[in-house]
Amino acid sequence: MPICLASFLGQPLPVADYWLWLAFPICLTISVVYKTTKAERFRDIFPAAAVLFGSMIVGLALVTIALWLLTRL
């Protein structure tokens, strides 16, 4: 079992070409955990987390575009 785990977690993924896509899962888990601690009722968690996730992605995209434009000036 430990050897299987080591072989599964033993080689780094080559993420140099698509590391930017890794922003999506981390934004998703951050928004779910944050809203799990903040929402008063359990059923409010998922809609609030979806809104926060969308806001984070849009915010990151806007910052990315702004910085990209800044480097082009």
Binding site: P2, A6, L9, L22, P25, I26, T29, T36, I45
Partner: protein, 141 residues
């Protein structure tokens, strides 16, 4: 197991906090908030294991980055296991450690998993304390 609306004894606060640190979501489970506990467990462990999958078990190592190791330790028991494995002679012999994009993304993921668990620990203590200071408990799941 305590209930969210029940008054906790003095020793149960540190117990709930330690449980919440050791296993993400365990503090909420102790308070009787099982759905929230499951959600926290899945989200935090998923973040941590995506990090390990991207960067290998070797990334949990204070010799590489003490700052990020402190953040990783906040993720609890799985960090300690990963650290023991990463510093073993077997791992050093078989698993390469390359400080490239994978390494940095993996350290970021595992460190953020730890910081998210810190948020869960604080939430456990706050929820546990509401009943004791006379405030209305938050609704159960």
């Amino acid at each position: 197991m305590a209930s969210d609306s029940a008054k906790l004894k003095g020793w149960e606060f540190p117990l709930a906090a330690v449980l919440a640190w050791l296993v993400p979501g365990a503090g909420h489970f102790y308070l009787g908030l099982r759905k929230r506990a499951l959600l926290l467990f899945i989200a935090i462990e998923l973040t941590f294991f995506i990090g390990l999958y991207v960067g290998t078990l070797r990334i949990v190592d204070p010799a590489q980055s003490m700052f990020w190791f402190v953040a990783q330790v906040l993720a609890g028991l799985n960090t300690i296991i990963a650290h023991l494995w990463s510093t073993s002679s077997y791992a050093e012999a078989t698993t390469p450690l390359v400080r490239d994009w994978s390494y940095h993304m993996a350290v970021l993921y595992t460190g953020i998993a730890g910081l998210l668990n810190l948020l869960a620990v604080f939430d456990t203590v706050i929820r546990a304390g509401r009943a004791n200071v006379g405030q209305a408990p938050l609704p159960a799941d």
